[in-house]
């Protein structure tokens, strides 16, 4: 009680002037005159001190001091204490709950003041209130908001469609759909297998090169090598009839420093022109490395700064030369059309209320064109200039043919639209006729895999929105019996001139994008029709779109499930994405996200970018990201509930230390060699390699590992891996391949130092491989197990001890002790204690700062010989394969280790390896195949 009283007293005294002391001046409230009088009488009484008092206090000053006191006192009485609410002036027993919200709970005399105060407080909050939902949902405002939100990560044109149905991830500067929110893993697989799966691949970047064919080829040949397969110069792709794919390296660096896989497409030669056009489609993470590389090999360093004066021109038909900046790129160039609000900005700097089509993240002055004065090559960055949809599955052609109709030729009056211009020319009309004939023939072909791989067809089609079915339907094939013509098409592919498309021309693309009929306008016209639901006639002249259809070959390697996952890519001018997307969806296709692309390449058995390119810069970055992410999820669990990877003998559960693996296999190989050399020297005194090579091996070890992409050597390896009897039935003919013997291995290894090779592993009986599973070498006893029967499971790894557990415990204890600062020697003890137990471990206590329970700390011991079976490599992907019906893993193994293993294995068990998941102690038998 006393303390609360003291507090009250303090509160009251807070605003008192410091000079005021009630106790010392009890007469402070008196009139000044009487005060002086009193003082005066006192002075008379003690005459001896008169002199001093008169010096101290003059009458006026004294009066002023009293007046100040009085006014302070009045103020203190009138005012409530501090910033408190009015009810602060009420005694405690009169206060009620929620008085601050409801002023009616206050006594009447205070209500007025309370109202005033609440008004004052409320007025501050008012502007922070959001706009009403209605205002926010207004078209212009929404577009502004959308444009703001995609400043960092670009949206694809189908973004909003995807965002409603997919789990979106921000990757590579784009917002991409990762996987659908509904459960559809198996339906998506089934769609790929028997119907059609649709994906938006518009995030792939396109780089356009223009120039003389010979100069282009000469400069591009520095980026690739013939050894790794067809290059940019392959005859079939050069004519423009086929799409090609190639792995690009840094200029002149093959086989080191790869950048990644790209696909490319040449424009068919135009008569009377020597300038060729080439599109290179690359993953966005490759682009940032590829573009400078292209600029150096083509000597294109002159950046063409986009002209600013174009900004004011209305965006319509712009016959652009290549050096001009597209008006669409500049947001300022957007004409603000159809905005009803008054807000339409008068100054040009105001934000545009039009949707940004294309790449909105790029600033308008960033150069996208580079040209060379010496070679005349022009490089254009066409990122987000085109839309690319991928249809996977045997029925994708059926879906396409139901959705797209070839454009009708119209002979109406000339207009600014590109199609009517083209229709004037007789040759162009006949070309269009031929293309539509071929398209009609394609409809009769049942399977996508029946066509030559990589076929290209240029077309001009009508707006698919016009033929949109009212209900979702499932496209079914209409197969005609094979005719002579369709047979020829299947054999020879599309003739060269029919691969031409107007999509290659920038002016046409821009024209089509600009003149697109809006959805609203289309709906208005539909509503005006007499019979609801019938087709819009006559077809609006704007709706003719040039497209390119590019065949995607399916599985081409190996000898099983050939051409699985074949499909078509649909290339469109930008702005038309949704107009084609929705009609395709209405034909009963499934939509897949990024994870389905991964599955697609996994079933096809090809490396997926960037997951399976550990030697490319983007592959390395991906691995680091993945490790960080997995580590984060791992650490989120309480230590007692975590998998103890140390006990499982798994050194790196979240990454694959390829470099260390390759390095460790080198000495193993060379030690063996040295021994054998000595032995063979004794025997024959003739050796195929000198000791000089052995001395050089140290410098090889310092080199970086690389992936073997040389076709010939891969074919050789693949022959060696094959068991001589397949399923124990018939001997496999190896052909003219050299047999696997010592000299062959040696010559192979000298050519491929520190290299890894892409392999496919399928389990024999049980087991579902997981990513980062270890590929191990079986011992002779293990192979004996295999003889017992197909159902025999593999060997077990004895559990490892966790030396770090005690150290973590001690460290924790030591920390606690140190915190209480009671025993400092305890921490010394803990540091010194584990040393004898871990003397053979490479990790002393210096790295104990980042010890994580269950994970091996950073300087790893030897990865190859850590477990009881030697490690050959790791699986980068692994899952139960729905197409084969057993577990399948894809990964890399070390070539040196693989050859050593193979040469030690008996003929009937060639290519049998062991696979162990990071979370398991059980080895499973797998069959290794290298598919070329």
């Amino acid at each position: 009680m006393s303390s609360s009283k003291a507090k009250m007293w303090e509160k009251k005294m807070r605003h008192q002037p410091t000079s005021v002391q009630y106790s010392s001046t009890p007469n402070g409230g008196d009139a000044p005159v009487s005060g002086t009088y009193l003082w005066w009488s006192m002075c008379r009484l003690c005459a001896d001190c008169v002199q001093t008092v008169c010096r101290l206090c003059a009458g006026g000053a004294f009066a002023r001091a009293r007046a100040a006191e009085v006014s302070a006192m009045l103020k203190a009485v009138n005012r409530t204490t501090g910033k408190c609410h009015v009810f602060g002036s009420l005694p405690k027993h009169m206060r009620r709950r929620a008085m601050s919200h409801n002023t009616k709970r206050l006594p009447l005399r205070l209500r007025d003041r309370a109202n005033r105060m609440s008004l004052k407080a409320g007025s501050k909050k008012e502007p922070a209130k959001n706009k009403s939902r209605k205002a926010r949902r207004r078209h212009g405002n929404m577009l502004l908001e959308f444009n703001r939100r995609q400043r960092k990560n670009v949206w694809l044109e189908t973004h909003i469609w995807h965002a409603k149905r997919f789990i979106m991830v921000k990757k590579w500067g784009y917002c991409l759909g990762h996987r659908p929110t509904n459960k559809c893993y198996r339906p998506c697989y089934r769609a790929m297998n028997s119907h059609c799966l649709l994906q938006d691949h518009s995030y792939y970047c396109c780089i356009e090169l223009q120039g003389e064919e010979s100069t282009l080829l000469a400069s591009l040949s520095r980026l690739t090598s013939k050894e790794a397969g067809p290059t940019f110069a392959a005859a079939m792709t050069l004519s423009g009839q086929r799409q090609g794919s190639v792995v690009v390296y840094r200029a002149g660096q093959y086989p080191l420093q790869p950048l990644g896989p790209v696909t490319f497409l040449w424009r068919p030669q135009i008569q009377g022109s020597t300038i060729r056009q080439l599109w290179i489609w690359a993953h966005p993470t490759i682009k940032k490395d590829l573009l400078p590389e292209l600029q150096t090999v083509c000597e294109c360093c002159e950046a063409v700064v986009p002209s600013i004066n174009l900004m004011g021109t209305p965006a319509e038909v712009v016959p652009t030369t290549e050096c001009e900046q597209k008006p669409n790129e500049t947001p300022e160039a957007k004409q603000i059309t159809g905005t009803k609000r008054k807000k339409t900005c008068k100054d040009a700097t105001g934000p545009p209320t039009k949707k940004i089509i294309g790449d909105g993240t790029r600033s308008p002055t960033t150069p996208i064109t580079w040209k060379s004065s010496s070679t005349g090559v022009i490089i254009n960055d066409l990122t987000m200039e085109m839309v690319r949809f991928r249809l996977i599955g045997p029925q994708s052609l059926t879906v396409l043919s139901e959705t797209l109709e070839t454009a009708g030729v119209h002979k109406s009056k000339p207009s600014s639209l590109w199609w009517s211009e083209q229709c004037k020319d007789e040759s162009k009309r006949s070309l269009h006729q031929e293309q539509s004939d071929i398209y009609r023939l394609l409809k009769g072909i049942h399977l996508t895999g029946e066509l030559p791989p990589g076929t290209v067809l240029g077309l001009t089609v009508e707006d698919p929105r016009l033929t949109l079915p009212t209900k979702k339907v499932v496209a079914l094939p209409h197969v005609k019996q094979s005719e002579e013509k369709s047979r020829e098409l299947m054999l020879k592919g599309v003739p060269k001139h029919c691969c031409q498309s107007y999509l290659w021309e920038r002016s046409v693309r821009d024209n089509v994008t600009e003149n697109k009929i809006s959805e609203q306008e289309l709906n208005r016209r539909r509503s005006e029709m007499l019979v609801p639901g019938s087709r819009l006639t006559p077809t609006p002249p704007q709706s003719r779109i040039p497209i390119l259809l590019v065949h995607q070959p399916g599985k081409q390697v190996g000898c099983e499930m050939m051409s699985w996952g074949a499909g078509w890519d649909l290339l469109l001018p930008k702005g038309w994405g949704m107009a084609f997307w929705v009609p395709l969806v209405y034909r009963g296709v499934r939509i897949g996200g990024l994870n389905m692309s991964l599955k697609h390449s996994q079933i096809k058995g090809v490396p997926h970018f960037p997951h399976d390119y550990p030697d490319c810069p983007s592959g390395v970055a991906f691995q680091e990201e993945q490790e960080a992410e997995l580590l984060k999820t791992f650490k989120r669990r309480p230590p007692a509930k975590r998998t103890n990877y140390i006990k499982h003998g798994c050194l790196a559960p979240f990454r694959c230390p390829w470099q260390q693996l390759a390095e460790e296999w080198e000495p193993i190989r060379w030690n063996r060699e040295r021994r054998k050399t000595v032995r063979s020297k004794q025997r024959q005194s003739v050796t195929s390699f000198s000791l000089h090579d052995l001395l050089n091996c140290h410098e090889w070890i310092s080199a970086a590992f690389m992936l073997s992409r040389n076709r010939k050597s891969l074919r050789l390896l693949s022959g060696w891996c094959r068991p001589t009897t397949s399923k124990g039935q018939r001997p496999c003919r190896v052909g003219d391949q050299p047999p696997l013997n010592h000299s062959a291995v040696m010559s192979f290894l000298t050519a491929h130092r520190m290299s890894l090779v892409w392999v496919r592993l399928s389990t024999l009986s049980k087991g579902k491989p997981e990513p980062h599973a270890m590929v191990c070498v079986p011992t002779a006893e293990d192979l004996q197990l295999l003889n017992k029967g197909p159902g025999s499971s593999g060997p077990q790894e004895p559990p490892h001890g966790d030396h770090f557990k005690s150290r973590i415990k001690h460290k924790k204890k030591g920390l606690r002790k140190a915190a209480t600062s009671s025993l400092s020697e305890m921490s010394h003890l803990s540091a010194s204690e584990p040393k004898p137990s871990s003397s053979k471990e490479p990790d002393p206590s210096q790295s104990s700062s980042d010890l994580t329970f269950g994970l091996w700390p950073d300087p790893l011991p030897r990865v190859t010989s850590h477990c009881c079976r030697l490690t050959l490599g790791w699986a980068t992907q692994g899952d139960f394969s729905l197409s084969v019906g057993c577990g399948e893993a894809l990964g890399f193994v070390c070539v040196a280790g693989l050859l050593k293993t193979l040469s030690n294995q008996p003929m009937e068990h060639r290519g049998m390896l062991l696979l162990r998941n990071p979370t398991s102690l059980h080895y499973r038998f797998v069959k290794l195949t290298i598919e070329v």
Partner: protein, 140 residues
């Protein structure tokens, strides 16, 4: 369902023996016609018993009066085997009617060194196929 073909034909190797370095052979899928529910395409990869069981299921519980068993190349033997097994297990209820045909298959020959060799070639070859109708004869 013609998947079995890829395994057996082995023309791949023969071709490589002819011109070992210049060309890689890629076989395309055989032409496919739409499948009815009572069509069974026999391959060499699936287990024999499973394929037989599938045919039996179609005839007995599937409610089909007739099924068609197709086999191509090496799978002809197996198709005949399946049809005969079906007939034997039905105690003479089922009858067979076999037809043979020739299927044209397409191979792509990709030049190994694409820059010089020029055009990739396509080649057609023929393979035999059998179509066996297995049916319950109509009661007279």
């Amino acid at each position: 369902m013609w998947k079995g073909v890829g395994l057996q034909a082995k023309i791949n190797r023969e071709k490589q023996e002819m011109d070992p370095v210049e060309y890689t052979l890629r076989k395309r899928l055989p032409r496919k016609l739409p499948k009815r529910r009572n069509d069974v395409y026999v391959n060499m990869k699936t287990d024999f018993r499973a394929q037989l069981a599938r045919c039996q299921k179609l005839l007995e519980s599937g409610g089909h009066r007739e099924i068609c068993v197709h086999g191509l190349g090496l799978a002809i033997n197996r198709a005949i085997n399946i049809a005969l097994q079906l007939q034997a297990s039905s105690q003479g209820m089922l009858q067979l009617a076999a037809n043979t045909s020739t299927v044209e298959l397409v191979d792509d020959l990709e030049p190994e060194d694409p820059d010089e060799a020029g055009e990739p070639m396509t080649r057609t070859r023929n393979n035999s196929a059998i179509h066996i109708k297995v049916f319950y004869p109509d009661p007279q």
